[in-house]
């Protein structure tokens, strides 16, 4: 960064500022920065406009990013990027208000290069991504909100920002503006109206705890981390999940719940989070940890059905703005990175022909369809409506599993044979066979 160190004359030392760019990227998150970085490294003049005072400043994600997709854009990023812990353990809890069934997977090879995933603070990680883009030659412009698109003969020809002399022209605009995708709507590309049924609200607290304590409590090797997903009564029976991620010396803990279910049940997400933290098995993990931050953010979960038109004349859409979130596996950042990279590669290919119209940029859609991005989103296209219409998955079933486990493990004067009968009776009384079959069938249809 200190490229100017000890350089004497200021005049002429700076690269002259271009009046237009080949490509403008709107939004400096993972999608936008992957696109910006890829284009800059290929020698294209590219400006990335970010509304925050730096990339990451508006981000609240303290969660997991995956090695493989990230290293496709930023090879061997783990050697330099600010990461918290490499994740060696993934847990899934089925929890009630006072008990939990825990499924845990741990693997030694998750603990060595190239690793599988890392916990990160995106506020720091995105800043690092932006520094890579700058080093590759991109123009990072922060604190600048893009308010509209410029049009010329019906095609997108640039952007209008809120700054004085705020218009800027380009051959192509890549919209990577995140979940509140106003420009996508303005460009006439949106397919679903913004609806509470299509977004989840995630609330999160960051709690400070000494790193030795984290490693003790979560049973981790030094530097290794755990990611825990929690389903059950913990979300008040609403469609959503809880999560805990271990960072270096903090813990991220939160819940994500479909926004419309909060509205329908007249509940606030923070009330759910407060209850969640009182769950005894969970409380033990965070005991004595002091709160550092509280934040909330929307996550687009409309999935494939709500995906906007991804390309138009002179415009592409990537990342959250394009609804690229897989709610089943809690993946978003990696889809954003990959789609940003593919948007950039599409632009590079189109530059060869000097054409940026719809027909040429349709290549982006074809690339995405061949990739995990659209394949995964298509696979789970019915997931969000399925989960929303089957609240028993978040209330009844975990509750029942716990009840069965409790009964099975309790030793009393019931003979084992009678115990089995009792368990079966208990199960049938809660879930008639027909209903179980239907739920299984629905799940199979929606999720496989």
């Amino acid at each position: 960064m200190n490229s100017g160190k000890n350089k004497p004359a200021p005049a002429g030392a700076a690269e002259s500022a271009p009046a237009r760019f080949d490509v403008i990227v709107v939004g400096g998150g993972p999608a936008g920065l992957a696109a910006t970085f890829t284009l800059a490294r290929a020698g294209v003049s590219v400006a990335c406009l970010e509304r925050g005072s730096w990339s990451g400043s508006k981000n609240m994600m303290g969660g997991v990013i995956y090695s493989h997709p990230t290293s496709r854009v930023f090879p061997q990023f783990w050697r330099e990027a600010p990461l918290e812990r490499h994740v060696t353990r993934r847990d899934m809890w089925f929890a009630t208000t006072d008990s939990a069934i825990k499924a845990s997977f741990e693997s030694a090879d998750f603990g060595v290069e190239p690793y599988n995933s890392f916990t990160v603070y995106r506020a720091r990680f995105d800043k690092w991504l932006a520094a890579q883009a700058t080093a590759a030659g991109a123009w990072m412009i922060t604190e600048t909100l893009v308010e509209d698109l410029l049009r010329e003969d019906g095609r997108v020809a640039g952007i209008r920002s809120g700054r004085p002399q705020g218009d800027l022209e380009a051959d192509v605009v890549i919209i990577a503006e995140g979940v509140n995708s106003f420009l996508t709507e303005r460009a006439g590309l949106a397919s679903c109206p913004p609806q509470a049924a299509n977004v989840a609200l995630a609330v999160k607290e960051v709690l400070a705890l000494p790193k030795e304590k984290i490693e003790d409590r979560f049973d981790l090797e030094p530097g290794a981390g755990a990611a825990i997903e929690i389903i059950g009564e913990i979300t008040g029976g609403l469609p959503g999940t809880g999560f805990i991620y271990t960072n270096r010396d903090t813990i991220s803990i939160g819940v994500g719940v479909l926004l419309n279910s909060l509205v329908d049940n007249v509940t606030e997400a923070y009330t759910i989070l407060d209850k969640f933290k009182q769950q005894p098995q969970l409380r033990r993990l965070i005991q004595g940890a002091s709160p550092r931050e509280y934040s909330a953010h929307l996550i687009p979960e409309g999935g494939y059905r709500c995906m906007p038109q991804l390309y138009g004349d002179g415009v592409l859409v990537a990342g959250d703005a394009a609804g690229m979130v897989n709610p089943i596996n809690s993946e978003g950042a990696n889809l954003a990175l990959l789609s940003g990279q593919m948007a950039a590669e599409t632009v590079l290919a189109c530059r060869q022909q000097g054409r940026f119209d719809r027909a040429a940029l349709a290549l982006y859609q074809r690339r995405l369809e061949r990739s995990v991005v659209i394949q995964d989103l298509k696979k789970y296209e019915n997931a969000t409506p399925f989960l929303a219409s089957h609240p028993q998955l978040f209330g009844l079933y975990p509750e029942l599993m716990a009840a069965l486990a409790r009964e099975f493990l309790t030793v009393d004067n019931l003979s084992k044979a009678n115990k089995e009968k009792l368990l079966l009776k208990l199960f049938r009384s809660q879930v008639p066979a027909r209903r179980l079959l239907k739920d299984l069938y629905d799940a199979w249809r929606s999720l496989t």
């Binding site: 200021p10 123009w139 604190e143």
Partner: protein, 286 residues
Amino acid sequence: MPINSVVCIKQVPDTSQVRIDPETGSLVRQGIPSVANPYDLYALETALSIRDRHGGFITALSMGPPQAEEVLRKTLGYGADRAVLLSDRAFAGADTLATTYALAAAVEKIAAGSLVANIGSGKGVDIVFCGKQSIDGDTGQVGPGLARRLSFSQLTYVCSLLEVDLKAMRVKAWRQREDGRELLQAQMPVAVTVTEQCSSIRYASLPGLIAAAKKPVEVWSAADLNVERGRLGLKGSPTRVSKIFAPPARQRGEALSGPGKSAGEMAASLFDRLADRGLKIGRRGG
């Protein structure tokens, strides 16, 4: 004739997010983002508006850790022509005496450079702008200290810089006092410290930001300046902080309220209370 000015910018912790450690009384700076000292941005705007009128060249100057580059980069976005950061371990721990020593040496270097490059009025640096004080140290000494070291005239607590007369090499300004304002005139070169009554910083234009995005921030170490090392940083700082404490929170005043009572009744109850506290009140004609 254009004016060559230097604006001193200090990187300070964003006080809206600073907490005070109740035990030690010191600021908890860990993890707190840094911003430009707000008064320094009023100083920068004052310099920019003078350049708008007369033309000229503005150098933003800061001393601090390498991260202070970000704050300086912002000044380039607002329209500063050049940004210089004094960054070296030798500068660390400086009080205002050592700070002004290093900054003055940098201003002299900038002045010498502008003479060679024929920037500004052709007389070196014409005006040094500072904020009236920093929001973390609050001393208000750096501006006047610079004036003294550079043998510049000085105008402190300027709330409005009225006019710059390039022929006579004079500036005229309103100075804020506790009891009012005074109109002052000073000979250039001059050091000016400004208050929040000056215009707040402009909204940088998009072309300005683009131009700034890749402008280098020059980093100077102690070796780049004509200085004696013993007078820099902690070594050159006679000031020692012997104690820090957080001021006790002010007691809330007492408010009298009497719904349905007349003004006369309220006044009477006020008099009674004052009398209870031993205040002697003479009543006219009583």
